[in-house]
């Protein structure tokens, strides 16, 4: 039997699908018997999902333009990787 403490230690491997078959089985048994750990598993999984579904950060056009200018200036000054 997995304890709640052991469950917490293995939570990430379960969520990241890196737990082996036996461990997955033990975790799945545990969450059918322990409602609190089931909720923790479920809400942690949703936490990760909601961040993965987050709107991608846009790179403002002016920021991109300034970056390209800075790179251009650097390139004009010297070739890459040649230490001075």
């Amino acid at each position: 039997m997995l304890t709640c403490k052991e469950f917490m230690q293995e939570l990430n491997d379960y969520l990241d699908e890196t737990a082996d078959v036996e461990l997955r089985r033990r975790i799945e048994v545990h969450i059918t018997e322990c409602p609190n750990c089931f909720v923790i598993l479920d809400t942690t999984r949703k936490t990760i999902q909601v961040y993965k579904g987050m709107q991608p950060q846009v790179l403002p056009a002016e920021v991109q333009a300034r970056l390209l200018k800075a790179v251009e200036r650097k390139m004009a000054a010297r070739k890459p990787g040649i230490s001075s």
């Binding site: 909601v50 993965k52 991608p56 790179l59 790179v71 890459p80």
Partner: protein, 207 residues
């Protein structure tokens, strides 16, 4: 639209090799590929537009300067992520020099994994908020994490680097990545529960 490029090179190691030989178009192509991701990463870690822009520029300028040091054993992206993370942490240290935890400092392992609130969430909790409100909730929650946890969470769960790549980019061990990620996820879960829990339920939803 197909990823047509100025150089026509799709294979990244060939692109990096050409950039190293002084092909400026090849380097610009790399900038184009990763600038958006690096900006997002820097914004998440520094939580500040101005700092994120500085980090973005510094990252590519340093990459350009040190291209000859890049051996090609890791991916180019992992290599510049490492530069970007270091630059971002330097910005953080400058801003709040007394409160920031350096990445290599041993972290208290105790109370961070304590679960205080256990409540069922709504079926689709994010739909109760407007895009702006949701964005704000998520951003502020990430901001509430200590930098050492935040950085790992951003790399693993937002930028979707592997555990090994994250360890390499941060210069920390794989077990350290794992334990920090667990704590980051649990702390975020705890915080988001305040916003997303099913109405009418309270702490002991299932008991």
């Amino acid at each position: 639209m197909p990823a047509a490029t100025e150089t026509g090179i799709f294979d990244e190691s060939a692109l990096v090799a050409r950039a190293r030989e002084g092909d400026l178009a090849a380097f610009n192509e790399l900038v184009g590929r990763y600038s958006r991701k690096i900006y997002r990463l820097a914004k998440h870690i520094t939580q500040n537009d101005e700092d994120a822009e500085d980090v973005l520029q510094e990252t590519f300028l340093k990459a350009f300067e040190h291209l000859s040091d890049f051996q090609g054993q890791s991916k180019f992206y992992t290599w510049i992520v490492r530069i970007a993370v270091n630059e971002s942490l330097m910005k953080l240290r400058k801003r709040k020099s007394d409160r920031t935890v350096p990445l290599d400092e041993p972290l208290d392992t105790g109370e961070d994994t304590v679960v205080r609130e256990i409540a069922v969430w709504d079926e689709n909790p994010e739909q109760q908020y407007s895009r702006e409100e949701l964005g704000k909730i998520l951003e502020e929650s990430v901001e509430s994490l200590k930098p050492a946890f935040r950085t790992v969470f951003v790399l693993r769960d937002i930028e979707e680097l592997s555990t090994e790549e994250t360890a390499e980019a941060l210069g920390i061990s794989v077990p350290a990545v794992k334990s920090r990620l667990l704590r980051a996820r649990l702390q975020l879960r705890e915080r988001l529960t305040r916003f997303f829990k099913r109405k009418g339920d309270d702490v002991f939803a299932y008991l």
